[in-house]
């Protein structure tokens, strides 16, 4: 019999004496003392609370809006997000690796403040005042959002069951955190992100205060508010997605506990389950999709980033791609062949030869983004075969060998046992243009055209090649390789075009091609069937855009001088220089006192948890000043949320910055406040208050010291 997973015999012993029907796998002792999920506090906002909420809001607004106009130049990533706001106002399409909500909010703020979208935020340090940009108006948005997080913190702490003193302390810690202040004074995405994250968790805490009265109006209100805010957070930056595991795990734990609750009938349990599925999955998803829909509605006109999208996507933009071509491809047709899965362009050749060492020196074959004469190829039968076109043009069936003659130079597309320009991988071969007048060619000119998929609405598109509808690969039977788009740029002697080679055993992703333009020169009839790209549906557009985002996120591996790895964030090894000029500068650095103590609080929680586990096993009671339940459940949840917002970054290879830590920092600050509460719970009231005052004063002092660079 194998191992673990549940302790048995001892329970057996204990249970036999105590409970007849107790199940062997249940650990009663730990169950009773440690609640697995969030604490069920009951808090309703009193007038004192209301006054304090207004008070901290006022302080926060002052702290965040103080001299908002300085610096009056473009700072750090305002370069990007200012520019994107302009694009929204002008309606020109752009691409960015972040979801759209936060950027649209800046666009709205800019619109209200009177920004006309002309100024282009080209580089850090450009002057706003001279260009007449209403940048203060745009910066008010993040400042206000940042200020609102402070009363939200207060509410979250109260909802978790803490007193006014602890809640006030937590909100002051958030208010005087230099990093959060810097971030919310500039046109950057993190302020909206942190705002929505904080609001999600505040709403979630409020939801838990309504646990006693499920399915009431307020219960639904806070559940849906959580969902909406979570959707907004994810629509601001993908970091918001980390809320899902945090909230999801606490939900699963709670639902699991509810199974044991005999007052809940199975139907009722199902209702609980469904309500959460709707509120915490369906609603955020709908919100995410909604903001994307708004995004695509605003960006209706083609712009410089259009070429990154697939042709089907481009046709949905005003002034975008508008292709209409003959549908059928015949022997003798002129065709333009496009790489189907990457938007790098058309199979291309020109009167320049390969110049790499291991190559043949024959004519280059590349991939080139623009449609020109050099992309035209003529379909011809395979070497030593003929096709009888006297009875009218002959369609090209799948699986036949054929040759492609380059129209302007007359050479055939050719491959042979030579290494391509950019790799010496022995799975890859060079493609070249080969042939000369009087030379019949050879079998290395033959490619087998194999249709991988046709369009199901176009009859015959998987049997015979049809422009746009048939997706095929070009297989070289002699070398057993397929024409492949390597997506790598060739050197200057090939004009920086994209490399095409012939690869063995390649996956279809980068070796799928289609015909985008076909024309049969000797057409006898006027009426020919046409082919067009089918514009994408909303879902397909959102899907494509998100895939592209995922890809660019992965490939973001630059060498930014201020990039920082996650292991250095939590203890604030260094910050990020945002802007510098004439003796003043903005250096994004947190309040070290808060960063270090909040990290210590998180670590302490882990230790307390382990020690309590050991004590419980030995049945030694530890009540922790009566705060045990509240501390373990509330700090437990926020430590979980902190871990969800921090640990995944370790697995990311992309370039990371310290501002990625901000959502986690907020959670750690709450844990810090809860920890202080727990540590001082047994002290006399006066001592406890003075500890709080000392902490607040110290934080304020450090804030002041660093505020010159904030």
């Amino acid at each position: 019999m194998t191992t673990e997973m549940a302790d048995t015999t001892a329970e057996g012993k204990a249970q036999q004496q105590q409970k007849q029907k107790q199940l062997p796998s249940k650990d009663i002792s730990s169950k009773a003392i440690v609640p697995t999920s969030f604490f069920h506090a009951k808090w309703t906002c009193t007038s004192t609370d209301a006054v304090l909420l207004a008070g901290v809001l006022l302080v926060a607004v002052i702290v965040r809006c103080w001299r908002l106009s300085v610096p009056n130049q473009v700072v750090f990533d305002e370069v990007h997000f200012g520019k994107f706001a302009g694009k929204y106002i002008n309606g020109t399409y752009f691409y960015d690796l972040h979801p759209p909500l936060a950027k649209m909010m800046f666009a709205a703020a800019g619109r209200l403040a009177g920004y006309d979208g002309v100024f282009d935020f080209k580089s850090i340090g450009l002057d706003y005042a001279a260009a007449g940009v209403p940048y203060v108006g745009m910066r008010v948005l993040p400042a206000v959002l940042g200020a609102l997080t402070v009363p939200a913190t207060f509410a979250a702490a109260r909802a978790c069951g803490y007193g006014i003193d602890t809640a006030l302390l937590a909100s002051l810690l958030v208010c005087f955190e230099n990093g959060l202040v810097t971030q919310s004074r500039l046109i950057l995405l993190d302020s909206p992100l942190v705002f929505f994250t904080v609001l999600t968790l505040t709403a979630w805490s409020m939801f838990w205060t309504k646990q006693g009265r499920p399915f009431t109006g307020e219960w639904w209100l806070w559940l849906l508010a959580t969902g909406v805010m979570m959707g907004c957070a994810a629509s601001s930056k993908w970091v918001g997605l980390f809320l899902f595991p945090a909230i999801g795990l606490s939900t699963v734990g709670d639902l699991w506990d509810k199974i044991a609750d005999r007052s809940i009938s199975p139907t009722r349990w199902l209702a609980h389950f469904m309500a959460r599925a709707v509120g915490l999955l369906a609603v955020p998803f709908a919100v995410y999709v909604f903001w994307f829909q708004v995004h695509f509605m605003l960006l209706h006109t083609t712009g410089e980033a259009t070429s990154m999208m697939t042709p089907e996507f481009q046709t949905t933009l005003r002034g975008g791609l508008n292709v209409s071509t003959d549908r059928d491809v015949f022997y003798g047709s002129e065709i333009r062949i496009r790489s189907s899965n990457a938007n790098s362009g058309y199979l291309h050749s020109h009167t320049h030869n390969w110049q790499h060492d291991k190559g043949s020196g024959q004519q280059q074959i590349t991939i080139y983004g623009h449609a020109d004469e050099n992309n035209l190829w003529i379909v011809e039968p395979a070497f030593n075969t003929t096709v009888d076109s006297s009875q009218g043009p002959v369609k090209v069936p799948t699986g036949t060998k054929l040759r492609l003659r380059h129209k302007t130079t007359g050479k055939f597309l050719h491959s042979h046992d030579k290494r391509p320009a950019l790799t010496s991988d022995d799975q890859k071969f060079e493609l070249s243009g080969y042939g000369f007048p009087g030379f019949a060619g050879d079998t290395n000119d033959d490619f087998k055209l194999e249709i991988l998929s046709g369009d199901k609405n176009q009859v015959g598109s998987s049997d015979h090649v049809q422009a746009i509808y048939s997706r095929f690969r070009l297989f070289h039977p002699n070398l057993q390789c397929s024409v492949y788009n390597s997506r790598k740029k060739l050197p200057k002697w090939a004009f920086g075009q994209i490399e095409a080679n012939c690869m063995r055993n390649c996956l279809p992703r980068m070796s799928t091609w289609h015909v985008e333009y076909a024309h049969y020169p000797n057409a006898t009839t006027e009426e020919v069937a046409k082919a067009q790209y089918r514009p994408l549906s909303m879902w397909a557009k959102i899907w494509e855009y998100n895939l592209l985002m995922a890809e660019s996120n992965e490939s973001l591996t630059g060498d930014h001088p201020f990039a920082a790895r996650p292991q250095h964030w939590a203890w604030l090894r260094r910050g990020t220089a945002y802007w510098g000029g004439r003796g003043h500068f903005v250096y994004q650095l947190g309040n070290p006192l808060i960063w270090w103590t909040s990290l210590a609080a998180v670590v302490l929680f882990g230790l307390v948890r382990v020690v309590l586990f050991l004590l419980d096993k030995r049945q030694i009671a530890a009540s922790m000043g009566g705060q045990r339940r509240v501390y373990l459940s509330s700090a437990g949840f926020f430590v979980l949320a902190w871990a969800c917002h921090y640990v995944p970054f370790f697995l990311m290879g992309r370039e990371l910055f310290i501002h990625h830590y901000f959502p986690a920092l907020w959670m750690a600050i709450l844990v810090l406040a809860f920890t202080l509460d727990m540590l001082t719970a047994r002290l006399p009231h006066v001592v406890r208050l003075s500890v709080y005052v000392v902490v607040a004063a110290a934080v304020l002092h450090v804030f002041h010291t660093f505020s010159y660079i904030t």
Binding site: M1, T3, E4, M5, A6
Partner: protein, 772 residues
């Protein structure tokens, strides 16, 4: 044989015996209730069925693994690597590989035993063994021994875990007839050996766990230590073995939690005894073993070989006949040196060309002389190294040297270069000093531009003084040597270090790399080496001297260096291989790996699991997880669906197998390196065990009658019902049929027509060769 109904509803532990172990219950209950009567009614055949089943597994395993093991007589897939490494061991030449050494040493051991001398280097897939005189058949036969052992081990693990003869047999037969394990199991590859130790660890741990009511007894210690030894071996084969350690580690934590519980009546002292003995056996023993295997590895590989270049110069100097040792000289002031970048291999070059006044992005340069990184060493790559002290004496020394005067060794030794010396570097061809200054470099605006300064410009001379730091040097007396020292040149005034990166300068820079001053001088990428002193050749007496004073490096230092390199290179294995795959696709078996092809005879070896077997395993895993959740959810409401014995077995043994599958599979999702289907093989074995476990949970009742005490013990009964036997027969028959169907591409022994190839292309991803 029919089901004994009364067994089913019995509650556990109603006997007066208090702390009755679940497995004891399994057996005692049955012996009490079924009693002597039923035992007498059981035939000898049934009583010995476990032994027969075990022997059948051994025989079938032998047949599947050794069937025409001499075919193909060519190098297949990664035999390229592991065959080669075996040869290196036999030649005692140093090589570098990302995997720990045990499995490779075992392969080499086989080679050594059969008298193979390591003359063949397995350079390319498809090379012929016969004509090269390689005893490949014996080598394969040796490695296949480990493959042969896998199905019997699976049988043993299952039987020890309390499964019936029939369920254990099912697991073992599924594993016997898995195409991937067979294809992998008969070639010179590491996975067999690794999986063998993995299963041996699991077996030992199960045996150990069964001793938990006799703690600190002889048996208890034997199996605990055996677990530790096997874990040490598995992790010394491949770092994937860490997952097995994690598996046992988690199991031990759960076990310790049980011991800690005060209701068990253990004192804290007893708890610590348990804790310390496990820590010793399962942490200290594997660590010591791991280190020992490396010590053996390094003790065998004493000669210079292809692995030299991966290592630091100090390491290389330890190897016999190291070419590096032969080119390592002291550098003296006044020498003309060529400086080469460690990471990108370019030489520091300067030429009369100037930086253009304005770059494309409108930034301005100093228009100074270019200092760039060139791929080739030319006359422009030499720099004269000059001291900052004793300038007059130095001038005399240089003058005398140039005049061709004989300079005594002692005098020459005065001019050696030390760690942290302040130096100037004068470009030999143009006669100006290397300089950096506060001008942004052409392509990296955050770094400082490198240029040169005429000798007569004393106003900016401070820009030309460099602090020479030797990497790893501990005292200022460390000497600068060619080839073997890595250095940093940190500007004494600005504190930036000479640095380059693979970005090429535009046309005006002749396509050289940009060199500039990096503000973080501690970066690895700021390391350079002096590859050559112009005109310096090694003399015969120096060769002798060098052989004598190879500076010693302790084993631990060597180990740390080697281990660091292994991890670094393992993570850097990101080059795209055409047959790599993503972990998500593995259980669904959407694509295999082409191991070997023979175009003339239309034969191929294509690594592919048994598709049906793998899909059935997925179903079993799914069923198990769903069943577990349901069982627990009902349990929350005190509803017992299956009876406590079955329930406990599902939780404990089923949970263990499921977790073993999980821990050998999910970590791959977090790995950035290129991954292959064969990384799933360890997990696939646990998935097969899950099939058998589900089979038992669902079809074998009452439990007590069928569970085995040990794999070699006598069985009480064989088949609960004929329908159960039918399920067993159907599962095995399908597995065998599928195995036989795919066998031609697993063994590579028979010629296939295009039609036959295509009929085996069950999924579009099976990119078999010779489809047409």
């Amino acid at each position: 044989m029919s089901v004994d109904e009364p067994q089913l509803k019995r509650r556990p532990g109603k006997d007066t015996v208090g702390a009755l172990s679940p497995d004891k219950q399994l057996h005692q209950d049955s012996s009490n209730s079924v009693g002597a009567g039923s035992r007498a009614g059981v035939s000898e055949l049934v009583r010995n069925s476990s032994s027969y089943a075990f022997m059948a597994v051994v025989v079938l395993s032998f047949i599947t693994r050794y069937y025409r093991i001499w075919d193909p007589a060519q190098v297949v897939f990664d035999e390229v690597h592991f065959g080669k490494f075996a040869s290196y061991y036999l030649r005692r030449e140093y090589y570098f590989d990302v995997h720990p050494p045990l499995a490779k040493m075992l392969i080499a051991l086989g080679g050594w035993l059969i008298g193979y001398d390591g003359h063949f280097l397995f350079e390319k897939i498809g090379m012929d063994y016969m004509s090269n005189g390689v005893p490949y058949m014996m080598l394969r036969g040796w490695v296949a021994l480990f493959g042969l052992a896998l199905p019997p081990l699976v049988y043993m693990v299952m039987a020890e875990s309390g499964y019936s003869v029939i369920a254990s047999l099912l697991a073992a037969l599924l594993v016997t007839f898995d195409n991937a394990l067979v294809a992998q199991g008969r070639l010179i590859l590491l996975d067999n050996i690794m999986i063998f130790f993995m299963l041996a660890s699991v077996y030992s741990y199960v045996k150990f766990f069964k001793q938990r009511y006799h703690p600190f007894g002889v048996q208890w210690w034997t199996w605990l230590l055996s677990t530790g030894v096997m874990l040490g071996c598995v992790v010394s084969c491949k770092l994937v073995g860490l997952f097995t350690i994690a598996l046992v580690g988690v199991a031990v934590i759960f076990d310790l939690r049980r011991i800690l519980d005060i209701r068990r009546g253990n004192t804290m002292l007893e708890f610590w005894q348990h804790f310390v003995s496990r820590a010793f056996a399962l942490i200290a023993v594997p660590v010591v073993l791991y280190l020992s295997f490396f010590a053996i590895h390094l003790a065998i590989l004493t000669r210079t070989g292809p692995g030299d270049a991966y290592h630091t110069s100090q390491f290389q100097m330890q190897l016999i006949d190291s070419p590096l040792a032969k080119s390592s000289f002291d550098v003296h002031y006044g020498d003309q040196i060529a400086i080469r970048h460690r990471e990108t291999g370019v030489f520091v070059d300067s030429n009369p060309g100037r930086y253009p006044l304005r770059y494309e992005d409108q930034r301005v340069s100093s228009q100074g002389q270019q200092v760039t990184g060139a791929k080739d060493k030319t006359d422009n790559s030499f720099w004269i190294i000059k001291p900052m002290v004793d300038q007059e004496a130095f001038a005399q020394f240089v003058a005398r040297r140039q005049a061709g005067e004989e300079i005594s060794k002692d005098e020459l030794n005065k001019w050696v270069v030390h760690h942290t010396d302040l130096v100037q570097l004068q470009h030999a061809a143009t006669g100006s000093n290397m300089r950096t200054h506060d001008v942004a470099s052409p392509m990296t605006s955050t770094n400082m531009e490198f240029t040169t300064l005429a000798l007569n410009d004393t106003a900016h001379a401070a820009d030309t003084v460099w602090k020479l730091e030797i990497d790893g040097a501990k005292s200022n007396s460390t000497l600068l040597k060619t080839s073997s020292s890595f250095i940093r040149l940190v500007n004494n005034k600005h504190g930036v270090a000479m640095w380059t990166h693979p970005k090429k300068l535009p046309e005006w820079g002749h396509g050289h790399q940009e060199i500039n001053g990096k503000k973080d001088p501690t970066a690895k990428s700021t390391l350079w080496a002096i590859t050559e002193i112009r005109g310096r050749q090694i003399t015969a007496e120096e060769v002798e001297e060098m052989a004598k004073k190879q500076s010693g490096m302790s084993f631990l230092e060597k180990f740390v260096e080697l281990q660091g390199l292994m991890i670094k290179h393992n993570n850097a294995l990101t080059t795209v291989h055409p047959f790599q795959s993503t972990p998500l696709s593995w259980p669904f078996l959407t694509r295999g790996i082409s191991f070997w092809t023979d175009a003339a005879q239309r034969k191929q070896i294509y690594l592919l699991g048994n598709p049906i077997g793998w899909w059935v395993s997925n179903l079993a895993l799914l069923a198990f997880f769903a069943g577990l959740v349901m069982l627990e959810a009902y349990g929350m409401r005190d509803i017992d669906l299956v009876g406590s014995i079955v329930r406990r077995h599902i939780l404990r043994s089923g949970g263990f197998i499921a977790f073993a599958w999980f821990i050998h599979y999910f970590p791959f999702f977090m790995m950035g390196r290129s991954l292959f289907l064969h990384h799933y093989l360890p997990a696939s074995i646990f998935a097969y065990m899950m099939v058998a476990a589900c089979f038992q949970f669902i079809f074998v009742h009452p439990y007590q009658l069928f569970t085995l005490r040990s794999w070699s013990s006598r069985a009480r009964a064989l088949l609960p019902s004929y329908s159960t036997g039918l399920v067993f027969a159907v599962l095995v028959a399908i597995q065998v049929a599928t195995f036989v169907f795919f066998a031609p591409i697993s063994y590579g022994t028979s010629t296939l027509t295009a039609e036959q190839v295509n009929s085996r292309r069950w999924l579009p991803g099976y990119d078999l060769h010779f489809q047409k």
